[in-house]
């Protein structure tokens, strides 16, 4: 009986599915069980399997993802021509009629497994006929807007314009107000209507528009170079510190070079009068663009709802649309955690990441060395480095005498050469270290894989082109490969951080559940990665399926962490 089960599992069927199939067919044999499994796929009678294989997998809680799937299905239905649909059916039949060959069937069974969780009957009716043409799921879209680097200035100016119109102030005044309220226009308007004058005063707005540029100031000399100002060359702000246009030019240019922008003050000593942007525009037109760039920079820097994309050379800014938003994605594909400004690290939280980082900085280097060069004293557990050839060790700290080879007590020490299976005892600190290294190793491996897979982004387009050219496919048939790559990277990033989360997750039922989901996602991710690396015409259906599978598993894991795992265990 166990043999038949093992055989089925070897063929690639999910253990729980196999077990159920055997039970249902009264253990008649492998063939019957397989037929039963395939029978399931056509009859849609999945309720039994569902119980067996969805341990811990939370069915999608909201209707949202299902609905969006449905609309996507409808869309593809509308777009696909009939020949395309027939093609998929042929593929379907070929698969079912063949004897199970490990990869494809494992794929199929796991797909079934994943789709079981979508128990929505209506949904099943819809997709049943197009089982192999399910569109790639759109998952985990973040609620943030991305402001392209080249649009930044424009966006900042629009914001200023808005405030100018609403508060009926000049653009220069509006800019200062915005700056004062860290570009939080709601707060600005709220306070402004309470007491406009007070707000203006606080923001440093005073007579900002009373400036003169390039006029005749008879009888006055430039306070900087001493030139007389009767050549239509005198400029000054409301504080009436007269200087010639050339001196203003040099002064402002210098300030802009130093990184200053809006809020720079008059050139006179201890004068707090702020130079309005129009003054800058007219006095140093050549530098004005740079001034605006700096202004846009403060627009992002000072705005608590905005972050720079940390990818080198990207330059885009991300804006969270609500305060609750913790993850934001850039159009370059990078996802950041809004709270700590690092790469998005779900399911681990910011505190865990902080601890983890510190641990990595502190431990990795030394830990490796300690592990390879020292052993712990069996009595007091201090790490001991051997400095001579003799294996009779005496611990400096607790004076315990022991054998370096077997770590046994030196007195009545014998049989050091006999392997004792039960006596592989390790000290607590070493165990801890090994535990850490275990997690760190896996964290690192996923990071490295992610780096490689990020490069796939570039090659995916080429692959799409070549498939299109060779096989006369339409763009709409192959464009999902882009999404597949994104989902792969997303899975990879999440996997990476699951090891941080796992490291801090106490042992127990939750951890078992978590590791089950993690393992599940890991397998699917590897599968998808393998397929995408050699993406070609032949395997695009596989890719589509595995992509959906991967995104489902990813969602299960994240939802699990979000809803279930946290209840009794870690703080989030």
């Amino acid at each position: 009986m166990d043999d038949t089960l093992a055989q089925l599992i070897d063929m690639g069927f999910d253990p729980s599915v196999s077990q159920l199939a055997l039970e249902q067919t009264n253990y008649q044999g492998v063939q019957q069980a397989i037929e039963y499994i395939y029978g399931l796929s056509t009859s849609n009678n999945l309720s039994g399997v569902k119980q067996g294989s969805t341990i811990g997998q939370t069915p999608p809680s909201s209707q949202q993802p299902l609905q969006s799937q449905k609309t996507l299905v409808d869309l593809t239905q509308g777009n696909n021509n009939s020949s395309n649909l027939t093609k998929t059916h042929v593929a379907d039949q070929q698969l079912t009629s063949n004897k199970p060959k490990s990869q494809k069937t494992s794929l199929k069974s796991s797909i079934r497994e994943s789709s079981e969780t979508n128990s929505d009957d209506e949904y099943y009716q819809d997709v049943d006929d197009y089982e192999f043409d399910v569109p790639v799921q759109e998952i985990f879209t973040t609620n943030n807007s991305v402001i392209q680097a080249r649009e930044l200035i424009k966006t900042a100016l629009v914001e200023i314009d808005n405030i100018t119109n609403i508060t009926e102030t000049s653009p220069s005044e509006a800019t200062l107000l915005l700056l004062h309220f860290q570009w939080n226009s709601n707060k600005l308007l709220e306070r402004y209507y309470e007491d406009p004058d007070r707000v203006k005063q606080q923001a440093g707005v005073k007579a900002i528009d009373q400036y003169k540029i390039k006029i005749n100031v008879p009888g006055q000399d430039c306070i900087i170079c001493g030139d007389s100002l009767d050549q239509n060359n005198g400029s000054y702000l409301s504080c009436q510190h007269y200087a010639c246009s050339d001196c203003w030019d040099g002064f402002i240019t210098n300030k802009i070079k130093d990184g200053e922008s809006i809020g720079m003050t008059c050139l006179s000593f201890k004068c707090t009068n702020i130079i309005p942007d129009i003054f800058v525009k007219e006095v140093v037109p050549k530098q004005y663009n740079k001034y605006l760039e700096r202004l846009a920079q403060t627009f992002v820097d000072k705005n608590p709802n905005m972050r720079w994309c940390p990818v080198a050379g990207c330059g885009n800014a991300l804006k969270a649309d609500s305060k609750a938003e913790t993850v934001a994605s850039c159009t370059c594909g990078f996802k950041i955690c809004f709270k700590c400004n690092q790469e998005s690290h779900i399911p681990a939280n910011c505190d865990q990441m902080k601890q983890w980082k510190k641990k990595c900085e502190d431990d990795s280097e030394t830990a490796n060395w300690i592990q390879s060069n020292t052993q712990d004293c069996p009595q007091c557990h201090s790490s001991i480095e051997k400095n001579g050839g003799c294996n009779h060790m005496t611990c400096k700290k607790c004076k315990h005498e022991f054998c370096w080879v077997c770590l046994g007590n030196w007195k009545n020490h014998s049989k050091c050469n006999t392997f004792d299976k039960d006596k592989v005892s390790k000290s607590e600190s070493k165990k801890n270290l090994e535990r850490y290294l275990f997690y760190f190793h896996r964290f690192n491996i996923h990071e490295q894989s992610k780096k490689f897979e990020t490069k796939l982004r570039a090659s995916t387009l080429e692959t799409i082109m070549s498939i299109q050219n060779k096989k006369d496919k339409r763009w709409i048939d192959v464009k999902f490969l882009i999404q597949s790559t994104e989902i792969l990277i997303q899975c990879r990033r999440t996997l990476k951080y699951t090891y941080v989360f796992g490291f801090y997750l106490p042992d127990g039922a939750e951890k078992n559940l978590f590791e089950y989901l993690q393992n599940d996602l890991e397998k699917t991710t590897e599968h998808l990665s393998g397929l995408l690396e050699k993406a070609e015409d032949k395997n695009i259906f596989d890719i589509k399926e595995v992509t959906n599978l991967a995104s489902t598993k990813l969602r299960h894991l994240l939802e699990g962490v979000e809803e279930g795992l946290t209840l009794g265990g870690t703080k989030r």
């Binding site: 430039c222 306070i223 900087i224 170079c225 001493g226 030139d227 510190h241 010639c244 050339d246 001196c247 040099g250 002064f251 210098n254 300030k255 130093d258 990184g259 200053e260 003050t265 050139l267 006179s268 000593f269 201890k270 004068c271 707090t272």
Partner: protein, 164 residues
């Protein structure tokens, strides 16, 4: 506006209308970017009667950027580095703030001149700023052992007058 023109003007002004206690001018009239200044120890302080010589090096974009001032005579003062460099807020460009305590308003502005710098240094000598000492030993002595501080400074006064 050229730095040259402005320095020439300042030179003219400071020679025609000298201020008591300070004197300054280019070391060599062919190079207006390197000046020498002499400061008399402020009356009523431990530095009284001393004559202190310093060099002022002007950047090419003067007065947009401040000059650098270094005492060539030996000095012992909380705000003067042991190498003679003067640490005073008005000689720091607004962008930089090595000590993170200065308000940007007290920093360099192109309206400043050699004369205002030297006057500021004079007042700094009488009233050291102990919040940001450049010479820790001097600051410590000033706070804890005024007597020894005084001795040290009196010794320097004699040295500056070449009486020692």
């Amino acid at each position: 506006m050229s730095a040259y023109k402005r320095l020439m003007q300042e030179y003219k002004e400071i020679t025609l209308h000298p201020t008591e206690g300070i004197a300054a001018g280019p070391l060599d009239e062919d190079n207006l970017f390197l000046w020498e200044a002499v400061i008399m120890g402020p009356v009523g302080t431990d530095y009284e009667h001393g004559l202190y010589i310093a060099q002022l090096t002007f950047p090419t974009d003067y007065p947009l950027s401040p000059p650098k001032m270094v005492f060539t005579s030996e000095m012992f003062h909380p705000n003067i580095y042991p190498n003679g460099e003067v640490c005073i807020s008005i000689l720091h460009a607004p962008g930089e703030d090595p000590n993170h305590y200065e308000s940007s308003l007290e920093r360099w502005s192109p309206v400043q001149s050699v004369e205002t710098i030297l006057l500021s240094v004079l007042s700094m000598i009488s009233e050291p700023n102990l919040d940001s000492p450049a010479n820790i030993e001097a600051a410590k002595l000033w706070r804890e052992d005024k007597k020894r501080y005084r001795e040290k400074v009196r010794h320097l006064v004699k040295k500056s007058l070449e009486l020692d």
